[in-house]
């Protein structure tokens, strides 16, 4: 099996790996939509989706009712509905951009997986930890930000191409909001990389190096960056909420005042692509947060993964690393939903004020403080 895989041309190997990663992220995004409904129901004290029952599967003695109560069949029914619904295109839209917008939403969020490591395995030959990653590039986090920042065009295009008032307002709001918060987000990770890169000839922005520097021995070495730089983590998290358009920052969508915002004119499968893209974006954003501030695949602070899996077979060690990482990521997806169903939304002027007058000065002060502190520590 492994020999066959290694004998394939390199581009086939790469495509296979990419397809597997996409095949993993899309079901996660689907499961997120179910989790969102179940968690909202739990928070609001109601049972949530529990009626749909698949013909055949639902009648299995014990498993069937459990699946039904979990609402799993609702997910399938939703998926089937989106595929088979009539594809209505309003007459007043700009057709080319109208069709392009959902694609532009999905492609960047799936592309970012390429540079995000989602686990690690112990390589017995070199006795080091290797990342489970599609392409370990040196520019790591910058590539994530660069590709991620392209997803704003889907909202702008959808809003503009729909050629009606509410989507248009949603698109305008999206462009302003996403640019504003991108600044604070980029500034908030600078202290992390200042800490990771010791003075020397080589420097890296790779996310694997960030996790490695959180798995060193000793009190300072094993500390997760969320304890070392709580303010950075906070600013990053708030910006992440704004960048993924989640409540309380759902200005482009704002169901209360803009009907559906940028996707008001969208229906059936095209709408569901926006939805999947939002959840994929959220999953990858949470993953990056876990890598930067929560020690990636290290199970606990001061407990690195490497000695735990050193003796195990490669596949088991890799599975444990990936599970720890995914477990933390899922907690953050839960946090996204928790916040959505707990906090009230901001008004648009509040979003702008928070971004430019609060978050950005905090992020800049933070960078200056950590730059000075790290310079002093290194001099001592």
């Amino acid at each position: 099996m492994i020999e066959l895989y290694l004998s394939l041309p390199i581009w086939v190997q790469a495509s296979l790996k990419g397809l597997i990663a996409i095949g993993l992220i899309i079901p996660i995004a689907g499961a997120c939509s179910l989790a969102e409904r179940k968690i909202s129901a739990w928070i609001q004290g109601r049972p949530g989706p529990n009626r749909a029952r698949a013909w055949g599967l639902g009648y299995i003695p014990i498993l069937g009712p459990i699946l039904q109560r979990l609402g799993v069949f609702h997910l399938m029914a939703d998926g089937a509905k989106f595929v088979f619904k009539e594809d209505v295109v309003p007459g007043h839209v700009n057709k080319f951009y109208y069709y392009l917008a959902p694609l532009v939403a999905l492609v960047p969020s799936l592309c970012t997986i390429v540079v995000v490591p989602f686990g690690a395995y112990f390589d017995a030959a070199t006795e080091t930890l290797k990342p489970l990653i599609l392409a370990d590039v040196d520019v790591g986090i910058l590539a994530v930000f660069a590709i991620g920042s392209l997803s704003v065009y889907s909202l702008i295009l959808a809003g503009w191409a729909s050629n009606s008032k509410y989507p248009f307002l949603g698109g305008v709001r999206a462009s302003a909001q996403l640019i504003s918060y991108e600044l604070s987000m980029t500034l908030s990770v600078i202290p992390v990389f200042l800490w990771v890169n010791a003075p020397g000839p080589e420097a890296t922005l790779s996310l694997f190096a960030v996790v490695e520097s959180q798995s060193q021995p000793g009190f300072w070495g094993g500390m997760w960056f969320v304890f070392l730089m709580p303010l950075c983590a906070f600013v990053f998290l708030v910006s992440l909420f704004a960048e993924t358009n989640r409540q309380p920052f759902d200005m482009p969508e704002s169901e209360a005042d803009l009907v559906g915002g940028f996707h008001t004119e969208y229906g059936e499968f095209k709408w569901s692509i926006f939805f999947v893209a939002e959840y994929a974006h959220m999953t990858i954003g949470s993953g990056v947060f876990v890598l930067l501030f929560l020690g990636g695949w290290n199970p606990l602070p001061w407990v690195p993964l490497e000695p735990l899996i050193a003796g195990l077979p490669v596949w088991l060690g890799g599975l444990i690393g990936a599970s720890v990482f995914l477990g933390k990521t899922f907690f953050f997806i839960f946090l996204f939903m928790w916040v959505r169903w707990t906090l009230p939304r901001f008004r648009y002027d509040q979003v702008m004020k928070l971004g430019w007058q609060k978050l950005l000065p905090i992020a800049i002060a933070n960078v200056i403080f950590y730059a000075l502190a790290i310079a002093l520590i290194e001099r001592a």
Partner: protein
């Protein structure tokens, strides 16, 4: 492979630049500009300047064009009603073409074709983050500061020119 990719990205860049100029719809122009920027960043990748490629996408494609679109949508600009060719355009095109011909002729006369440097002899400044940062803070410190200052002045100029200071009270 690299040759094919170079031609692909080069045509993408030139084609979309032409589209930026010739489109009547401002949104189409902005998006063609976006495609052109991605073509340029592809060219940077082919030159092993991964850092510059990523910065190109992050700063220009990710933020600047989004701002352009924001302004276009905010002002709700319609396609201009201007004539495609006025007298001034014809004269400018003539002068431009003449200059281009003269420059190309001079280059060909002097060097017998364009010089091509060996790939290995070019320093991959944009590839390594630390190298790039080091150059920014040592060799190119003054140019970077000067350019930054010029941009600041330009920004102040735009604010002064576009803001109507008289009658601000009624707006409030």
């Amino acid at each position: 492979m690299a040759d094919i990719l170079f031609h692909l990205f080069a045509f993408l860049t030139i084609g979309s630049s032409v589209a930026v100029v010739y489109n009547h719809n401002a949104v189409n122009s902005a998006l063609a500009f976006l495609v052109g920027l991605i073509g340029v960043s592809g060219l940077f990748v082919l030159l092993d300047s991964f850092l510059l490629a990523v910065l190109m996408v992050l700063v220009y494609a990710g933020a600047v064009v989004a701002l352009f679109l924001f302004i276009i949508m905010l002002l709700d600009m319609q396609g201009g009603e201007r004539k495609p060719f006025s007298k001034a355009t014809a004269v400018a095109a003539l002068i431009g073409a003449a200059l281009l011909t003269v420059c190309t002729m001079t280059l060909i006369r002097k060097f017998g074709g364009l010089e091509t440097a060996e790939m290995g002899s070019i320093l991959p400044v944009g590839a390594n983050l630390k190298h790039y940062a080091d150059l920014l803070f040592t060799t190119y410190l003054l140019p970077v500061q000067v350019v930054g200052f010029l941009l600041l002045i330009a920004m102040l100029g735009v604010i002064v020119l576009s803001k109507k200071f008289a009658g601000l009270e009624d707006v409030k």
